[in-house]
């Protein structure tokens, strides 16, 4: 599980800088069959998928993207996602699929695809020491938490209400538990996090209640190359 894939040593060391990579993508892209869309997206995607991502990672994800793209139009629809068998049985599957789509749209291009995945990139050592002035990277702790928060917050009012929590609970805990019991769990969860007494969890409260959790670690996966 840990030993699959090969590693581009330069990518790991973080030495491949913004300027170098687009060039290499163009080269790699040309070698591929579907060079055009890759070339188009690769330049764009780099700006947020930060410097420490090797081009092999991006090409691998691009080939995944194209294999998901049954319509072969350079974008993914919800149906494309729903065809993934594991995702169909994931209790939060639908919500996670929705997180890939920008507000009001039902297509996502490679750039959007990568933008969402970028949330789950582990935080590298050299990024921790980065100056705080620049725009917050997508894989920051706060952005990772916000991604999870949005899964709960269906009505986008920046609060997890009891009903919203209950829906997620029902999806995750399953059918063996009575509504009443789920309700009391939801009540208690909200009570535990709620600080301003509005019987809902705001994002600030969400961050606060998870402050001891190693979110950076728990919301990161290592993308293969």
């Amino acid at each position: 599980m840990m030993f699959c894939g090969t590693e581009d040593p330069f990518g790991q060391l973080g030495t491949a800088v913004l300027a170098v990579l687009p060039l290499s993508f163009l080269c790699t892209g040309r070698a591929w069959g579907a060079e055009k869309p890759l070339a188009r997206h690769a330049n764009l995607s780099l700006s947020f998928f930060s410097s420490s991502v090797s081009h092999s990672q991006i090409t691998r994800l691009y080939s995944r993207f194209t294999s998901l793209d049954k319509g072969e139009n350079g974008t993914l629809s919800r149906e494309d996602f729903q065809r993934i068998p594991e995702l169909a049985i994931n209790p939060l599957g639908d919500r996670i699929i929705n997180a890939f789509f920008p507000e009001g749209e039902d297509q996502v291009n490679f750039r959007g695809f990568m933008r969402t995945l970028a949330h789950f990139r582990p935080i590298e050592d050299n990024e921790k020491s980065k100056d705080q002035n620049g725009p917050e990277p997508l894989n920051s702790r706060s952005n990772k938490l916000h991604f999870a928060f949005r899964l709960y917050d269906l009505d986008k009012d920046d609060k997890i209400s009891r009903d919203e929590l209950l829906q997620v609970l029902r999806m995750m805990v399953g059918v063996n538990i009575s509504d009443e019991q789920l309700g009391s769990i939801a009540d208690r969860t909200i009570q535990e996090a709620d600080q301003d007494g509005d019987s809902a969890i705001s994002f600030a409260e969400f961050v606060k209640v998870l402050e001891k959790v190693d979110v950076e670690q728990k919301m990161s996966i290592r993308f293969l190359h």
């Binding site: 594991e86 995702l87 991604f147 999870a148 899964l151 009391s184 769990i185 728990k218 993308f223």
Partner: protein, 871 residues
């Protein structure tokens, strides 16, 4: 390897009480033929006696060590024990000049090591372990081979230069020594790291390595041992190939044996419902069998018992009762800790034997240097490789601790003691070097690792309260990550874990878990239960701090306890805290103190009031009260699959039948009247508000039923106050516990009295889920009701007099049908009816006695209830 050889420990111990031994020979038994009133038979008890004495000495030593916190904070216990062993060994040697005590391989591998490893496996944090399995395996396999090879080869290289003088060993002997000294020892690592509290990832890597390297050690040791035996000239490439193959056989075989026995154990624990008392025994016996089986097949025994513990823990903890779970936990900890104590003490004692010492400064010093240096190099190289694939990087600091934590211990010593002196000429040198290495790593590194960890500011574990939010959102994170892995099309941890948990849910749980456990096993629920429990305990503790629990009766006054009073949850009366207490036989680790507190809280009647309050105010499922809303005669369709035997059902009747009778059969004209009376009583009596609430709801529901059904046949048999039934039924159930009563007779009798009753019993059986039946709560209810009984008696006399007269002859006839001189509940019922006509004082002494009964006297209904509780 590890054949049963050498002198047993017991024999070695014989020399200690020499004085006693002498006396025994003079005992009158032998000199005098006549019958001796008292005979001194030392020889008879010698062996177990000495073993017990040694264990006692070791345990007492532990007490003494902990008298001074300063010492134990600085010096690890293992080091102290070794020093104590040296000291004791010195005394014995000085007294006798016999040094025949030693840690023999037989005793070590058969009796001392298994409990420690089982403890490690059974309490292994599985998620952490499997999450880092890749790293652990790399360190365990490659690391150990690396250490063995480099140490052996380097020592041989230095030997060739001639620094060490003349030895009788060739390359193979050095490699053999390297292979036994290479392995990091689980016992030593546990002993030292448990006191250091480094962060969990670091701990699991070092500790996991020490457990899993056993297979490598076994294979390397066996291979080189046999190579030495057949001679260097005869070693061919095929032999080497065999060695590599045997590594896979030994490791995978050991693991499979462990998994097989784990499966067996989980399966057995599913069916131990009726033998709760020996339930914990299965855990130990079956795990031990896995160890012995692997040993028998010359597979890795440590891997077998480790994986047995790892794989069974989830199912066993879900299946066995909470008491058994606690028993297993403490027995296992006690045995592991005891074994560890004895191991270290005997390591010290074993060293006091001039026969085994062969000093060779260069060899010993170089061994120390090489094992340390190569460990560091190995760790750095492997970590560099691993860090390219790990999400959680291992920092430089972690690597320092990992290198420094490579402690050698008793496994190496036992292995070196197994060597055959005829085959390995320098056995004594190897033994003394191993002893030095073990002492150096355990004492010196053990002493310095704590300051080192503090100085390097290694991230430590912090114990913190579980939070529902953390658990819930953590679950969400897992789902998110596995979805992301699915989308990005890679097979990672989360993907595998997801697959596994699906497989587990679909197949394994269905086979290995009890039905009730299958439903209730959910981490989120467990945390929820645990939090509620804590609330309950702190609530009662708060009450006790104030001197009484009286404040509970006025719930609105300044309550500082963390209980939410804002939502009264009116429907929750019947589910109980006790149900929570018993149900969570899971991973929730409440310590002894909490258990004690719990017991206390169930003990006296005042606390039961608190208990009722808690019932109302704590979060909990708002369950429907089936029996009170289902019209007479309708069997609830739920639970047809519960695998209860008839006997159990009958047992439950005794617990709850009167509730049902009371609720569902008080449908006649007396009901309203009764209800009114009780209402009055309630307002009069200051105590027991909660009971009143319960009563009231029941009454009203039965009223509703009356309205619904319209025409309900009234059976006067049931026209007597529950207060009169309760004490007898209580008695009945306690009688029944002694097995005196023919249950079927009772149920038949009851069935013949009222056709509705069996159905109701059925209901009561299922209704047990919701019913609150803590003993003390029960008793308090009884005593409380007795206060009102007089009034109710008289009232009932007016209401039910005529009917009951008509019924009387039939009942008498029924009474005759019941065999034996004991009384069934039904018979008592008849008696109680008669008492209406001749009102006499209630059996207060009986009640008091009942109320004072310890909680354990109703064990069977409890355990049954647990079986039935469902979420």
């Amino acid at each position: 390897m590890r054949q049963v050889s050498g002198v047993a420990l017991l024999l070695g111990l014989m020399a200690l009480p020499a004085a006693l031994g002498q006396r025994s020979s003079e005992s009158p038994k032998y000199s005098n033929q006549s019958f001796a009133i008292v005979s001194f038979k030392w020889d008879h008890v010698k062996e177990p006696y000495i073993i017990a004495l040694w264990i006692l000495v070791a345990s007492l030593a532990k007490i003494v060590f902990h008298l001074s916190h300063k010492v134990t904070r600085v010096v690890p216990e293992s080091a102290l024990l070794i020093v104590l062993g040296l000291f004791l060994g010195g005394i014995v040697w000085a007294a006798d000049h016999i040094a025949s005590f030693s840690l023999t391989p037989t005793v070590f591998f058969f009796y001392l090591l298994p409990p420690i490893v089982l403890d490690a496996g059974y309490f292994m944090p599985n998620r952490l372990f499997f999450g880092n399995l890749g790293s652990i395996l790399l360190y365990a396999v490659i690391g150990t081979v690396w250490n063995a090879a480099t140490t052996g080869l380097s020592l041989y290289g230095v030997y060739l230069t001639g620094i060490m003088g003349q030895l009788h060993s060739g390359l193979l002997d050095f490699l053999l020594f390297g292979s036994l000294i290479a392995a990091v020892d689980p016992v030593a690592v546990l002993a030292v790291f448990e006191e250091v509290h480094v962060n969990e990832v670091l701990f699991i890597i070092v500790f996991g390595e020490s457990l899993l390297n056993d297979a490598v050690t076994v294979v390397l040791y066996n291979v080189f041992d046999s190579f030495v035996a057949i001679g260097a000239a005869n070693v061919t490439g095929i032999e080497c190939l065999k060695g590599i193959v045997s590594f896979f056989v030994v490791s995978l075989g050991g693991t499979l044996v462990g998994i097989f026995f784990a499966f067996l154990l989980s399966l057995v624990s599913r069916f131990t419902k009726h033998v709760r008392i020996i339930e914990p025994g299965f855990v130990f016996i079956i795990s031990y069998l896995s160890y012995l089986t692997a040993e028998m097949l010359s597979l890795s025994a440590i891997l077998a018992i480790t994986f047995c513990g790892i794989c069974c823990q989830k199912y066993v903890k879900a299946n066995i009762s909470e008491q058994s779970s606690t028993t297993v936990r403490y027995t296992m900890k006690m045995m592991a800790s005891g074994a560890e104590t004895i191991i270290f003490m005997f390591l010290g004692i074993s060293a006091v034997d001039p026969d085994i010492w062969t000093w060779n400064t260069a060899f010993i010093l170089l061994t120390l240097v090489f094992i340390s240096v190569y460990r560091v190099i190995g760790v750095i190289i492997q970590t560099w490789i691993l860090n390219r694939y790990r999400t959680v990087q291992l920092e430089i600091i972690d690597q320092v601790v990992m290198s420094y934590g490579g402690l050698r211990g008793a496994v190496a010593f036992a292995l070196v003691a197994l060597l055959d002196k005829d085959k390995v000429k320098d056995r004594n040198l190897f033994v003394s070097t191993t002893i030095i290495v073990v002492f150096f790593t355990v004492i010196f590194q053990g002493l310095t690792i704590k300051p080192l960890v503090q100085w390097l500011k290694v991230k430590k574990t912090e114990h913190r309260e579980p939070k529902l939010n953390e658990k819930l959102h953590g679950r969400a994170f897992d789902h998110i990550l596995s979805a992301i892995e699915d989308i990005s099309g890679q097979i990672g941890h989360h993907y595998l874990r997801d697959k596994w948990s699906n497989f587990d849910r679909k197949f394994l749980r269905k086979i290995l878990m009890r039905r009730s456990a299958q439903k209730s096993r959910d981490q989120i629920l467990n945390v929820f239960h645990e939090l509620n429990l804590k609330d309950a305990i702190s609530y009662v503790a708060e009450g006790e701090r104030r001197g009484s629990l009286a404040f509970i009766r006025s719930p609105s006054t300044d309550n500082t306890v963390n209980v939410d009073f804002s939502t009264p949850l009116p429907g929750t009366v019947e589910s109980s805290v006790s149900y929570l207490l018993r149900e969570k036989a899971g991973p929730v680790c409440l310590d002894m103190q909490a258990l004690e507190q719990r017991r206390k809280s169930i003990r006296d009647t005042e606390d039961t009031l608190a208990h009722h309050t808690l019932q109302q105010y704590l979060y909990k499922p708002r369950q429907e009260r089936n029996s009170s809303v289902i019209p007479n005669g309708n069997i609830p369709s739920e639970n047809p699959v519960q695998d209860f035997t008839l006997k159990e059902k009958d047992l439950e009747f005794s617990e709850s039948e009167e509730n049902n009778d009371y609720e569902t059969l008080h449908l006649g004209k007396g009901v309203n009247f009764l209800a009114n009376v009780t209402k009055q009583n309630f307002t009069d009596t200051p105590a027991g508000d909660m009971d009143h609430d319960v009563e009231m709801t029941e009454y009203s529901s039965s009223d509703d039923q009356l309205n619904q059904n319209g025409n309900v046949s009234v059976n006067p048999l049931h026209f007597f106050p529950s207060c009169l039934q309760m004490p007898w039924t209580q008695n009945y159930s306690s009688l029944e516990n002694r097995g005196n009563i023919s249950l079927s007779a009772v149920s038949e009798y009851i069935a013949s009295c009222d056709p509705n009753v069996p159905d109701l019993f059925w209901e009561s059986g299922t209704d047990m889920n919701n019913k609150e039946t803590v003993n003390s709560g029960y008793c308090s209810e009884v005593s409380f009701k007795s206060e009102n009984s007089q009034e109710e008696n008289t009232l009932l006399m007016f209401e039910g007099l005529e009917d009951s007269y008509i019924k009387e002859p039939q009942e008498k006839k029924m009474l005759l049908d019941i065999e034996g001189n004991y009384r069934s509940a039904a018979a008592r019922r008849v008696q109680s009816r008669r008492s209406f006509h001749r009102p006499k004082p209630l059996h207060h002494p009986k009640l008091q006695k009942l109320a004072s009964l310890p909680a354990s006297c109703h064990v069977p209904p409890h355990s049954l209830e647990q079986e039935e509780t469902q979420l």
